[in-house]
């Protein structure tokens, strides 16, 4: 699924990284526990989280995430957006909850980072 399609399905806006809207994604992870994110690689996955911190962006970067979506309309501060831009990771915000966001992306065909559905 193209990132532009993910953005549309999640009714979300780009805070940075719109230039990557044509990048294709196959895997998705929804997680607020950084320890868990670090426990499994997720190259080029979409990372959904409700944890809006600098460390969420760094953890995403270290774990290979290709895009970050903050759920439930949580708007990050300017330094968080700046870090994502620096790391070259698109950052989106959706008004939807974690559950509904995951549901819509699942329906759209994305799989978990271990390939399961």
């Amino acid at each position: 699924m193209k990132l532009s399609e993910i953005a549309r399905i999640l009714e979300s806006e780009f805070l940075t990284g719109e230039n990557k809207k044509d990048v294709d994604f196959h895997y998705c992870r929804g997680c607020d526990l950084m320890s868990d994110v670090l426990a499994a690689f997720a190259d080029g996955s979409v990372f959904l989280t409700g944890l809006v911190t600098i460390q969420a962006v760094r953890t995403a970067s270290i774990s290979g995430a290709g895009a970050i979506v903050f759920v439930r309309n949580k708007k990050p501060s300017a330094d968080i957006v700046a870090l994502a831009r620096e790391e070259d990771i698109p950052l989106l915000v959706t008004p939807l909850t974690m559950f509904v966001s995951c549901g819509r992306l699942y329906e759209g065909g994305l799989t978990g980072v271990n390939g399961n559905r």
Binding site: D32, L33, M34, S35, D36, V37, L38, A39, F41, D43, L51, T53, I54, Q55, A56, R58, T59, S61, I62, S63, G64, D79, E87
Partner: protein
């Protein structure tokens, strides 16, 4: 290829910068065209150890030695040390404060994750004299 050595100062409780050193190392290895699997393993392990220093340890440093055959990361701090290293290595063991759990850390998964993703890991620590973690990653081929 000459051996490259870099070291970064890491500060206890500094969450604004925590993880920067590991991201630098990751970008360095990428720019040197190291195998992507190796780069990911080094990045994850370096980051886990760096976060441990910031949360549980004390001021210290993260250093990296890069050669053709291997990458070695060392993370040293002058914090309180670990009384029972064997216990700390067990998955699920954590003394993380609530404040760190609220940031999504403190599941007691970091040290086991380093063990899993590195080719060699040694951790030496004494209560009162800090912690030293060495991680070695061998390049394939």
């Amino acid at each position: 290829m000459p051996v490259i050595h870099k070291s970064y100062h890491v500060t206890k409780n500094d969450f604004i910068h925590a993880g920067e050193a590991s991201i630098h190392v990751k970008n360095l290895l990428k720019s040197l065209n190291y195998d992507s699997d190796l780069v990911r393993r080094v990045a994850i392990c370096g980051y886990e150890a760096e976060m441990n220093l910031v949360m549980h340890g004390g001021d210290g440093e993260l250093s990296v030695d890069v050669s053709q055959s291997k990458v070695v990361i060392e993370v040293t701090d002058k914090g309180p040390g670990i009384a029972d290293v064997e216990l700390a290595m067990q998955e699920g063991y954590s003394t993380a404060k609530d404040e760190y759990r609220e940031m999504g850390f403190g599941a007691g998964m970091g040290l086991p994750n380093i063990k899993k993703n590195s080719d060699e890991m040694t951790i030496s620590s004494e209560p009162g004299s800090g912690t030293h973690v060495t991680m070695v990653f061998f390049c394939k081929g």
